[in-house]
């Protein structure tokens, strides 16, 4: 009932007359990207292809194909299961409709794995106002997941997700633009990983502990407030600062901050970024429980542990088409390479392969994330 009321409010918003000033649709472009993640015994790589094209003056269509090829022997996998390989295929289709200063977007995303299917339907409205100094965006997305098990064809659980977002982008001065985002996500259903286990003290076991399946709450609501500002420096370079505060009903609280510097040099653009993230752990996370079924909910997913992560990024872009001349139908073209070095320090999650019970070291993850991509504007 309340959802219906919310949709009515959205419908009223859409029915309001658009102002006489004109907004803009995103530029027509194509991107072909290869991504590769290596770290913690896991390699994930694959392509991502995006094509965006206007149709007339008020419509723009976008499509994306994305593939993850996973080869995993992560710390979770080697301690409680066997290494595996799998694929995740994701594709999405979207449409932007511009009317005056208002842009409406719809988007559908489908993600398919051998044991996990996800569908997401997204809708948003953006309004440029106050002489195009301000852009306000309201967004909503609904997602459905089907969780299976590769070793049990009869296993089937469901989740639903809802995203509510509000964002405000503001031109502050002729050199500075800032954006404020608020996003609430609610999940309901089977939220744990069907394969993952927690460990508990077991004097009857030779190692002193045993494993049992994890058990998560069936609901989760998170709130994230993010803000960032980008500043044009006096010598044609840009500096961006970003901060996010995160909290959820599993009692994870996080702070994320980053600083980015962008420096063009002829046809090249160099970018460096430092990102820091720190979070508390979920209320039901334990590295080891005192006994079997010690608490109502139990988890040992290392991402739910208190942790601190650091990312150092380097990126170089090369504009191989002169933007003033172009080539045939292409107005611009760039070749880009990005390397992110990620370090995650877990404050409670221990590496149980590193020693016997009581002498295990805290786990630390180091990963490199590579991206190479070509972008065309036409």
């Amino acid at each position: 009932m309340k959802l219906r009321r919310l949709l009515t409010v959205l419908a009223m918003f859409l029915a309001l007359p658009a102002s006489v000033l004109g907004g803009v649709l995103p530029d027509d472009r194509g991107d072909v990207l290869y991504h590769r993640y290596e770290g913690g015994g896991v390699t994930i790589d694959g392509p991502s292809v995006l094509v965006r094209k206007k149709a007339g003056k008020s419509l723009s269509f976008v499509g994306n194909y994305y593939l993850d090829m996973v080869s995993s022997a992560s710390i979770d996998v080697i301690t409680t299961a066997s290494p595996y390989t799998e694929e995740r295929t994701q594709w999405s289709l979207g449409m932007d409709y511009l009317r005056g200063n208002t842009t409406m977007r719809v988007n559908y995303v489908s993600s398919v794995e051998s044991d996990f299917d996800a569908s997401t339907y997204a809708f948003s409205v953006s309004e440029d106002m106050f002489g195009d100094l301000t852009t306000l965006t309201l967004s909503y997305a609904y997602g459905e997941d089907i969780v299976g098990r590769s070793d049990d064809p009869g296993f089937r659980r469901e989740n639903t997700r809802q995203h509510y977002g509000v964002s405000l982008t503001q031109i502050l001065t002729r050199n500075m633009i800032a954006t404020l985002n608020f996003e609430t996500v609610t999940d309901e259903g089977f939220l744990n990983n069907p394969y993952r286990s927690v460990r508990y003290l077991d004097p009857g076991s030779a190692r002193g502990f045993s494993f049992e399946p994890e058990l998560y709450p069936e609901t989760r609501t998170s709130n994230a407030l993010g803000m960032r500002a980008r500043y044009f420096l006096p010598y044609r370079a840009a500096l961006e600062a970003e901060y996010r505060f995160y909290t959820d009903t599993w009692e994870i609280e996080g702070h994320t901050a980053s600083l980015t510097y962008v420096h063009p040099w002829g046809p090249f653009t160099f970018e460096g970024k430092l990102r820091y993230h720190d979070q508390t752990g979920a209320a039901f996370f334990r590295d080891i429980f005192s006994r079997s079924e010690a608490t109502n909910f139990r988890g040992r997913d290392k991402e739910l542990s208190p942790l601190t992560s650091y990312t150092l990024r380097g990126k170089v872009s090369y504009e191989f088409l002169d933007p003033n001349k172009g080539w045939g139908i292409f107005k611009r073209g760039s070749l880009n390479f990005t390397l992110d070095h990620l370090i995650v320090e877990y404050h409670e999650f221990r590496d149980i392969t590193s020693g016997s019970l009581g002498e295990e070291a805290l786990y630390e993850l180091k990963a490199n994330v590579y991206q190479i991509f070509v972008s065309f504007w036409y």
């Binding site: 991107d31 995006l50 195009d132 002729r174 985002n181 609610t186 960032r228 959820d248 992560s309």
Partner: protein, 79 residues
């Protein structure tokens, strides 16, 4: 969850009122002809959407937090 939806509904009503203000004639303090620096590609808040979506996916998989990091959708009025 219903409480959450009710809260979001109230927030939307406040935003509607804000939207109504957009019809008021507020003199932009940064004129369109003063936005050349903001229109420079190095000032784009999300210049590489495919790359941004990918790296956010990596962070969501490796950390317990999610959301709030995306660029605002739509134009920034600086094209």
């Amino acid at each position: 969850m219903n409480t959450q939806i009710a809260k979001t509904g109230r927030l939307l009503l406040v935003l509607l009122a804000f939207y109504g203000l957009s019809g008021c004639s507020i003199e932009p303090w940064v004129k369109p002809y003063e936005r050349d620096r903001l229109a420079d590609p190095i000032m784009a808040l999300d210049g590489d959407p495919v790359s941004t979506a990918y790296i956010q996916h990596v962070y969501e998989a490796r950390e317990g937090a999610r959301g709030g990091e995306g660029a605002a959708g739509g134009g920034c009025g600086c094209n």
